[in-house]
């Protein structure tokens, strides 16, 4: 049970509290709900970071000395509702917006944050796959300094990260998406709200002028101990168009590399199959976006995913 709760008004205050053993609480939608269902008791010391306005910012920042490409800065306290409705994110970092738009319900999205989603490190988290596909990094800060960690190195297992107990995630950085880049996230869901990804996939694609693939990355949700980056994509895709053939090859690759478990939501066999389907759908949507097509956020709804594809538009009348 929590005996001390500090509502931090400055970042330094929050970092000091963490140095003294306090756990941060952002929206509390994982931490508090998890405690109520008996996952883990509430920490004895908590520091609330929801009043730190400097963590609730979205904007571009200059790149570092080794790579001068500007970076997108998404403060840790930015909510899923902000992300899904943010014009810049929706237009150029659509995969992240797709993911945030699927989280829980309107109230979960209003309160839940990107920092909480990333640091909670659930292999079923929705923002993880698109962030990993886009090469995102976490900025971790403590009283003794700040460092930037690629997400692939941040997540170490279900619910665990390489961040120290005194390190606060202050932001997520995403390398700037060039004009030709598109991204998307799709997930398999049995219902359209209050759902947890059965499996999911995020993709980021850059196309050459001739429409063939210049660069592509795919990451998978809920098929391993952490979000899983697909390897060996380059050999399959670079220089080829995103057609049925290449997409099916990616689906097979995703099914092969997945190491899903069986649980109440699905068997390992079903997850292995469907994660391939999600991977190819995410990649296809990312490719279409890269080619300039507008697909509404989230792809799941625009494409009627969760039932047959491309039919939603024809049946606009059906709720």
């Amino acid at each position: 049970m929590t005996t001390h709760l500090l509502v931090a008004t400055t970042l330094d205050e929050a970092l000091a509290a963490m140095a003294n053993g306090a756990r941060p609480i952002a929206g509390g939608t994982d931490l508090v709900v998890g405690a109520r269902v008996g996952k883990a008791p509430l920490p004895t010391e908590l520091v609330a970071i929801d009043r730190l306005d400097e963590l609730d910012i979205v904007g571009m920042v200059p790149g570092g000395s080794d790579d001068p490409t500007p970076l997108l800065f998404v403060g840790a306290m930015v909510s899923h509702a902000t992300i899904m409705n943010h014009p810049l994110l929706a237009a150029s970092y659509s995969g992240l917006a797709d993911a945030s738009a699927l989280v829980g319900s309107p109230s979960t999205r209003n309160v839940g944050t990107i920092g909480g989603n990333v640091m909670n490190a659930s292999p079923a988290m929705d923002t993880g796959a698109p962030l990993l596909a886009m090469g995102a990094m976490a900025v971790l800060q403590s009283v003794s300094g700040s460092r930037t960690v690629p997400l692939a190195e941040l997540w170490t297992g279900p619910g665990t990260t390489s961040a120290g107990p005194d390190e606060l995630c202050v932001a997520i950085l995403i390398p700037r998406r060039m004009g030709e880049e598109g991204s998307a996230y799709v997930r398999l869901e049995y219902r359209r709200a209050m759902e947890i990804a059965v499996v999911g996939a995020g993709a980021a694609v850059t196309l050459n002028d001739d429409g063939t693939v210049a660069k592509a990355a795919v990451a998978l949700t809920a098929v391993g101990p952490t979000i899983l980056a697909l390897t060996g994509l380059e050999e399959l895709l670079i220089g080829t168009p995103l057609d049925d053939l290449s997409l099916s090859a990616v689906a097979m690759l995703a099914s092969e590399q997945a190491s899903p478990i069986s649980d109440l939501r699905a068997s390992d066999k079903y997850r292995r199959h469907t994660v391939g389907v999600m991977a190819k759908r995410a990649l296809e949507a990312a490719g279409r976006r890269a080619a300039g097509e507008t697909i509404a956020i989230p792809v799941n709804r625009a494409e009627g995913i969760g039932a047959a594809r491309n039919a939603a538009a024809q049946n606009g009348a059906a709720k």
């Binding site: 219902r191 939501r265 079903y270 009627g304 039932a307 047959a308 039919a311 059906a318």
Partner: protein
């Protein structure tokens, strides 16, 4: 129909509920109140070898710890007395209550529960109802023969209740067929899942106890308390604050006696509030799992020659209110079809699962799903369109039904025609879309029921009724009936209800019966007042009472509206003399006789008062790569007799359809190999959400039936929950090419079926 076309009828309890000013049982706080917690068996089957509550009793802050030794030696349950309040010797499911604690706080109560020592000799759980029917199977109740039980019940070993329906010669009928189609369907159990988990508060004053409880059936709850604690009915008062949904799950007597017993021992009021997990696992109100085997003989011209069926229902550990389920399920294995020769055997069988009980249209959605899937198979076998097949074989006005009941005016065929036409059945659809069609039927339940109506001296009305609300709005509609009789407005009446000490008996919010039975009582009570008002008005207007019309809040002479007197004036006169008091109950309608059929284990379910009919046409879209199904629209046509409150009626159909889609696709209880439930949270037990809801188009086929409720109204709360899952199944079967054999038809099961190339 859009909502703007539906006459508005605002519920009297609506503002309280949506603004949060309404109070539910868990909101009640009484001075000195303690918290209750139960110690559960946690295993599905075992013999208690040691039970020691000493440590728990000695804990600071613990005021009462009760076990079987501390309450009267009583076996209860309505039709088979197979149960005691606390486990005695044997535990038969994971939620068996071994002990109960009342303590100063929930935390202390929980610690005390943990301090109770129970040791078991574990017994093999009996989990498969079909295997449990075997003579060699171990028994869930070794002493079943010694239990007091209704003499009409056919029981044997684990088979708690058996029924058969027989007509004609089924073998001869099958011999006449051009084709014989056999199929087997298995439906998993599911849950009512009301949004409010159960709560009970009990407080004694002297030798009388008041119990506030989230029940749909306050009089049943009272009867259970009286039976188990051996008290006369006039010393037990059951009050239901606002009820947060029930769907049948809160029918029956549950934990009221445990909490009352704790409060008596502790000498303080006690409150029990269930967690969501307890709400899923503890009450004896799971929707039953059912295995249905069907064989139909059919001629090339589409006429059915015979039906043979076997239905096996998973009872779980105790009978609760399910003894009549076999016959009801058997009726659904026949369906509203002309079947000249039939033999249906149906049984409910004890297992070590959580006990089953009435959930919205018990047995019907599952058996209808099986039958209607089978009917589509039959139609396909003879190359006939399944809707045409239904129109050919469905019962209709003036016909003799499969159990020999002759139907007055009924609207089933019109339901089929209208729903399929409105849904665009037969039109070209986009790829991966289909329309599935299914029909259903359901009885209206006649029962004793009472109400008082009074007008006070200012002319304001009160309805004091035993009726109970569970979200249907049926109680609210009583105001409309009283208003119609007295020429007043519904808003002129307040309702005093949900309290066994003020209202006369009513069966409760169960069996879709409120309007049917209590409506009759309110009409009768109102008519008595109307009579009084006419006499009073006749005196003043110098006319015969028979010529007085009550309308617009006035009593007036027929044909001369200028000769009128306001009802408030008449009420004021009555207020200083003979008061305006009415009381009604009336005689329940009687089901017509059945002719030419034979029922073993008859539960009175083979002939129906006010039979209701429905047809649902569901348009859906399948994602063949994942098996995920989305319902796009549902066209629902219902014959539930006269519709008295259209707004409430549409609400019932819409809610039931969404519940039906959940049963079809995403709900369903999952057990581990020891019979314990695994999906006991709302994350893993997937109800449909608002975001999943399809567009729903409801039409009522209103045909007047004498043998029903007030103004020809039949029930409505359960009927719309019956055909949806079946219609979803038939749509899916078209897209997959073969029927789904298991309910729910989850995405993974659909994908499995597609991958196997059909079943």
């Amino acid at each position: 129909m859009t909502t703007t076309e539906i006459p508005r009828f605002v519920r009297a309890d609506g503002p309280d509920k949506v603004t949060g000013s309404g109070r539910y049982t868990a909101d009640l706080t009484l001075t000195g109140m303690l918290a209750a917690k139960f110690k559960y068996s946690g295993i599905s089957h075992g013999r208690i070898t040691r039970l020691d509550v000493t440590a728990a009793r000695e804990m600071a802050g613990v005021l009462a710890v009760l076990t079987d030794a501390d309450v009267p030696d009583v076996h209860y349950d309505p039709q088979i007395k197979d149960r005691t309040l606390f486990a005695r010797d044997i535990v038969r499911f994971e939620g068996e209550i071994v002990a109960a604690v009342a303590a100063l706080t929930p935390e202390i109560a929980e610690a005390a529960v943990a301090a109770i020592i129970v040791e078991y000799e574990e017994l093999t759980p009996i989990l498969d109802p079909e295997a449990a029917m075997d003579k060699s199977s171990p028994l869930v109740h070794e002493d079943w023969e010694s239990y007091e039980a209704g003499s009409w019940l056919v029981r044997s070993g684990n088979t708690a209740s058996f029924s058969s329906l027989e007509r004609g010669d089924v073998d001869a009928g099958l011999a006449e067929a051009d084709q014989i189609i056999s199929s087997r369907y298995v439906a998993d159990g599911s849950h009512a899942a009301p949004i409010e988990p159960r709560a009970v508060v009990a407080q004694w004053e002297g030798n009388k106890v008041t119990i506030w409880t989230s029940t749909q059936v306050p009089f049943d709850a009272r009867a259970g308390v009286c039976e188990t604690l051996q008290l006369p009915t006039n010393r037990v008062r059951v009050i239901v604050p606002h009820l947060g949904g029930g769907f049948g799950g809160k029918c029956g007597f549950h934990f009221e006696a445990h909490v009352a017993a704790l409060a008596r021992t502790a000498g303080r009021p006690v409150r029990l509030v269930f967690s969501r997990e307890e709400e899923f696992t503890i009450p004896d109100r799971r929707r039953e799992g059912i295995v249905v085997e069907l064989t139909t003989g059919v001629r090339k011209d589409g006429s059915i020659t015979a039906r043979k069926a076997n239905v096996v229902i998973d009872c779980g550990a105790y009978i609760a209110d399910t003894a009549f389920f076999p016959q009801l399920a058997a009726m659904h294995a026949v369906g509203p079809y002309l079947v000249p020769n039939l033999m249906v055997e149906s049984q409910i069988v004890y297992t070590n699962h959580q006990p089953s009980g009435s959930v919205r249209a018990p047995t019907a959605p599952q058996v209808c799903w099986a039958l209607e899937s089978h009917i589509d198979e039959v139609a396909k076998a003879i190359n006939m369109d399944p809707v045409k097949f239904r129109l050919k074989n469905a019962v209709d006005t003036g016909m003799v039904g499969p159990l020999g009941q002759t139907y007055e005016e009924i609207g089933l065929r019109r339901c089929i025609q209208q729903a399929t036409e409105a849904a665009g059945y037969g039109q070209e659809l986009p790829e991966n879309e289909a329309i599935g069609v299914a029909i259903g039927w359901w009885p209206s339940f006649a029962s004793a029921s009472g109400s008082y109506v009074k007008l006070d001296d200012d002319g304001a009305g009160q309805i004091i009724t035993g009726a109970q609300e569970c979200g249907t709005g049926a109680v609210m509609t009583l105001r409309q009936l009283a208003a119609d009789e007295l020429g007043m407005k519904p808003e002129d009446f307040e309702i005093i209800y949900q309290d066994t000490a003020t209202g006369p008996y009513d069966m409760g919010a169960t069996g879709s019966q409120t309007l049917l039975n209590n409506g009759r009582a309110v009409v009768e009570a109102s008519q008595q007042i109307a009579e009084q008002l006419r006499e009073l008005a006749a005196d003043r207007l110098e006319a015969a009472p028979a010529d007085i019309v009550l309308a617009d809040g006035k009593a007036q002479v027929a044909g001369s509206p200028e000769s009128a007197v306001p009802l408030s004036k008449l009420a004021a006169i009555a207020g200083s003399g003979k008061l305006l008091l009415g009381h009604g109950s009336g005689s329940p309608p009687v089901a017509p006789p059945i002719v030419g059929a034979n029922c073993v284990g008859d539960q009175g379910m083979a002939s129906w008062v006010g039979p209701q009919f429905s047809c649902h046409a569901v348009r859906l879209r399948l994602d063949p790569e994942t098996g995920v199904t989305r319902v796009i629209s549902v066209h629902a046509d219902h014959d539930s007799g006269t519709i008295i409150n259209p707004m409430g009626a549409h609400g019932q159909v819409e809610g039931a359809i969404i519940m039906g889609i959940g049963q079809a696709l995403t709900e369903g209880t999952r057990y581990d190999e020891t019979g314990k439930q695994m999906n006991t949270s709302l994350l893993e037990y997937k109800l449909q959400t608002a975001a999943d809801s399809p567009s729903i188009h409801t039409q009522f086929v209103e045909v007047f039936t004498e043998n029903a409720g007030p103004h020809g109204a039949k029930g409505l709360a359960e009927a719309p929950n019956i055909a949806t899952a079946a219609a979803v199944a038939n749509g899916l079967a078209k897209l997959i090419g073969s029927p789904m054999r298991q309910l729910p038809m989850t995405a993974e099961r659909v994908w499995d079926t597609i991958s196997e190339g059909g079943s």
